[in-house]
């Protein structure tokens, strides 16, 4: 010790600097742990992150127009959309060249359905023109022949849509998701009777909060009871909590239909007891009430389980100590027990909220028109209208909304204040 002077480098037995040797050992350690988690990491990247990124990318991707009609897109660059004049013969000649190839490869109808999202009628315009293209005179003049095939080619609006959506990337889907559109005067809100997505986003957030709060109100006492009861009775209670959890979602949702409908069990009972008259049966399903009741029931276990596992760790001696120091039951609970259960509330609330914000099957079945969520529209655009770009834009917005809420939650409650047990 005493012969070590300042500036002298500590070395290992074989003469290498200790610092470097340590760094190498640590690096090796790191690499080894990385190699251990690599299979999972690669799995998650390939099966989870990559598809999501790919899906989100579709919300701006718009290569189909340029790929299908390359010459037309190039020719259209010199055309002035504000001129109120249909493009000249050169553009039509380019369109003929492109369409002849596209029809051969059967791509024109696909482009038609893409552009039909922006302007109704383009789908059949491409289908119809595609059938005519092979019979057109290759020598031209093409403008006449196209106008002859369909007079929509003579409308400036058709060309404006084509030109507006010719770039490889578009903000059209996002504008649509915000109930907006690009008009000649810039970006504007859509007409009142076509706005729907913002309303649905608002409703999804609102209903998810209501569902989370009602899950908390119903779940807290149950979790409290579960944690407080002796093991034998709490196990029985736990089975009662888990039993519906193991039952098919559709069965539970259908059961709520039987219970809640106007000729259903609850209404029949209320009429029988004389609380309500036969003519004024309650409407409890196919509206927001139905969605809230059914989803609260379905998501309740996700609230109870984290609450229970946190409450289980709260030592009963604290409450006892508080009482022996003179606190009444309520003060002991509110000042001593409750603050310790907050991490469980946080975990349960985040879990229920995030699950409910993306739910769609239950709202679809019991939500009627006022109880459906944004996810119902996303599902519609994925599986029915095939407007995947719009579905991706809506999905991106939903993802961003959840992340913003998560950050807000972190600021208010603190994410490290969340515990699952």
């Amino acid at each position: 010790m005493s012969d070590t002077t300042a500036g002298q480098v500590l070395t290992t037995k074989d003469g290498k600097p200790l610092k470097a040797a340590l760094a190498r050992a640590l690096r090796r350690e790191k690499l080894r742990s990385l190699a251990l988690i690599a299979p999972l990491l690669i799995f998650v990247l390939l099966t989870f992150v990559a598809p999501i990124v790919d899906m989100l990318f579709r919300s701006v991707e718009n290569g189909i127009v340029e790929e299908t009609l390359p010459r037309t897109v190039a020719a259209l660059r010199v055309w002035d959309p504000e001129s109120a004049q249909v493009p000249d013969e050169a553009v039509f000649a380019a369109l003929y060249g492109d369409l002849a190839v596209a029809v051969e490869e059967k791509k024109h109808t696909r482009l038609g359905s893409r552009l039909n999202y922006e302007e109704s009628g383009i789908s059949s315009l491409f289908r119809k023109t595609g059938r005519r293209v092979n019979r057109m005179d290759e020598a031209g003049p093409f403008k006449e022949q196209f106008l002859d095939a369909d007079d929509k080619w003579g409308e400036v609006a058709t060309w404006q849509v084509l030109r507006q959506f010719s770039p490889r990337y578009t903000d059209g889907y996002f504008l649509n998701a915000f109930d907006a559109q690009r008009t000649a005067d810039g970006i504007q809100m859509k007409p009142e009777d076509e706005r729907i997505y913002m309303l649905l986003f608002g409703r999804t957030l609102f209903l998810s909060i209501v569902i989370t709060v009602s899950c908390l109100l119903l779940g807290y006492p149950i979790a409290f009871l579960l944690a407080a009861l002796p093991l034998r009775s709490s196990n029985l209670l736990m089975i009662l909590v888990l039993l519906p959890f193991w039952t098919s979602l559709l069965v539970r949702t259908s059961a709520w239909k039987v219970l809640l409908q106007q000729q259903g069990v609850i209404n029949d009972f209320l009429v029988w007891t004389g609380l309500i008259s036969d003519a004024s049966r309650l409407v409890m399903i196919n509206n927001q009430t139905g969605t809230i009741i059914a989803m609260t029931h379905i998501l309740l276990p996700f609230m109870i389980l984290p609450l229970y596992s946190v409450m289980k760790t709260i030592s009963p001696t604290y409450v006892r100590a508080a009482k022996s120091l003179g606190a009444n039951d309520w003060t002991a609970f509110w000042r001593v027990y409750f603050p310790q259960s907050v991490p469980g509330i946080g975990a349960g609330a985040v879990l229920v909220f995030i699950l409910s914000i993306g739910y769609y099957i239950t709202p679809e079945l019991v939500g009627g028109t006022s109880g459906i969520f944004i996810s119902n529209r996303i599902a519609y655009h994925i599986s029915s209208s095939l407007n995947w770009g719009l579905a991706a834009a809506l999905g991106t917005l939903l993802l961003v909304a959840v992340m913003v809420l998560f950050v807000v939650y972190d600021k208010i409650v603190g994410i490290d204040n969340v515990k699952l047990g």
Partner: protein
């Protein structure tokens, strides 16, 4: 060492066995009674003749368009034959996801020699589509409603008449059919419906008409909902597919009757996914030729009350396989039922579906 030998032997056996077992053919359909009718009428007889073929059913028709598109993008189409409604067939054809067929070479001629193209006639609505059945979306009503004072609805516009026929209605949660019925009952002539619906004013007019009953409507999204709602007396009139109502009335004996007025005909049939390898394509074409011949389509009507798509099948329609009742009077195409029918315009809806659907959803949520 020993374990390795066992594994190797096992693998070899599995391969050898694999060569001998049947080749799989995946058919996609709707599940339920409809798929059962297809199985009984054509898949089972075909397999009886071709024991080397193993038919696998996939109940994915409702999401067939989206799934086929995803399969196509992934470059691995696992389906051989897909059952879809005509409008979906047109979309699939538009997207290049379904194969075009030639009715005269790919399909069997009628027994009297009429070519398949003539036998199917107008029902070949798309180059990719091989129709099987004609079904209709129509109304059923409860025949025991006290408030109606013994009257029964016999006109499509009675659905919009809350004074004479009070009670809740069940309508499908989409614009198709509802918009047409609304305009018909707002005084638009049958031939002008789509022309009117093309304009903003026409759409507003349809929504205004639907507004008159909006508060009394339960909106359904699955065809099984209306029969359930009718059976529970949750609604007094409801639209759904005629086969569902047949099951409710004849099999479950519920006090429900058919309102055939202004029923909307639609078609359901097969498409072959684009890009199948040669061997699978040959196999599927052989099955298709068998499954859509005159006798097979007539056989299907024994199990479900949908009309065969071939003209030559109509006279061969017999009795229900279990109930033993004549099926002809329950077909949507029966002259007594088809006094006033409405033809759904596929091309028109392919163009306007996106636009009107957005408006319809906005209208619903107002």
């Amino acid at each position: 060492m020993k374990l390795k030998t066992v594994i190797l032997a096992g693998t070899a056996l599995a391969f050898a066995g694999g060569a001998a077992v049947a080749e799989d053919m995946t058919l996609v359909s709707w599940g339920g009674a409809y798929q059962a009718s297809q199985k009984a009428a054509y898949a089972d007889p075909y397999v009886a003749d071709h024991p080397d073929i193993n038919v696998i059913w996939d109940e994915s028709s409702a999401e067939a368009v989206a799934k086929l598109r995803a399969m196509n993008e992934a470059g691995n189409v696992t389906w051989d034959l897909v059952d879809v409604v005509a409008s979906d067939a047109i979309r699939l054809c538009d997207e290049g996801l379904a194969m075009e067929i030639d009715p005269d070479t790919d399909l069997a001629a009628a027994p009297d020699g009429t070519s398949a193209a003539d036998d199917f006639g107008d029902l070949l609505v798309s180059e990719c589509f091989i129709p099987q059945i004609v079904y209709s979306t129509t109304f059923g009503y409860r025949s025991d409603v006290a408030d109606w004072g013994g009257k029964e609805p016999d006109d499509i516009c009675d659905v919009f008449d809350l004074e004479a026929f009070p009670g809740k209605r069940a309508l499908e949660k989409r614009p198709i059919n509802n918009m047409e019925w609304a305009l018909l009952c707002d005084g638009v002539a049958k031939d002008d419906v789509y022309e009117v619906l093309e304009t903003e004013e026409g759409q507003d007019r349809a929504f205004k008409k639907l507004d008159t009953i909006k508060d009394s409507v339960v909106w359904w999204s699955a065809g099984a909902e209306t029969p359930q709602l009718l059976a529970d007396s949750e609604v007094v009139i409801g639209s759904t597919y005629n086969g569902r109502l047949f099951a409710l009335i004849e099999e479950q004996k519920q006090p429900v009757k058919m309102l055939w007025d202004a029923q909307v005909f639609d078609l359901d049939g097969w498409i072959i996914p684009a890009g199948l390898p040669e061997d699978r394509l040959a196999r599927v074409k052989d099955f298709l030729k068998f499954a859509t011949d005159t006798q097979r389509l007539a056989d299907q009507a024994k199990y479900i009350s949908y009309g065969p798509a071939r003209k030559s099948s109509a006279p061969l329609v017999g009795k229900h396989a279990d109930l033993g009742i004549d099926m002809a009077p329950h077909m949507p195409t029966d002259p007594n039922n088809a006094k006033n029918t409405f033809l759904y315009n596929y091309e028109w809806w392919a163009d306007y579906r996106d636009d009107i659907d957005a408006k319809f959803q906005a209208w619903l949520s107002q």
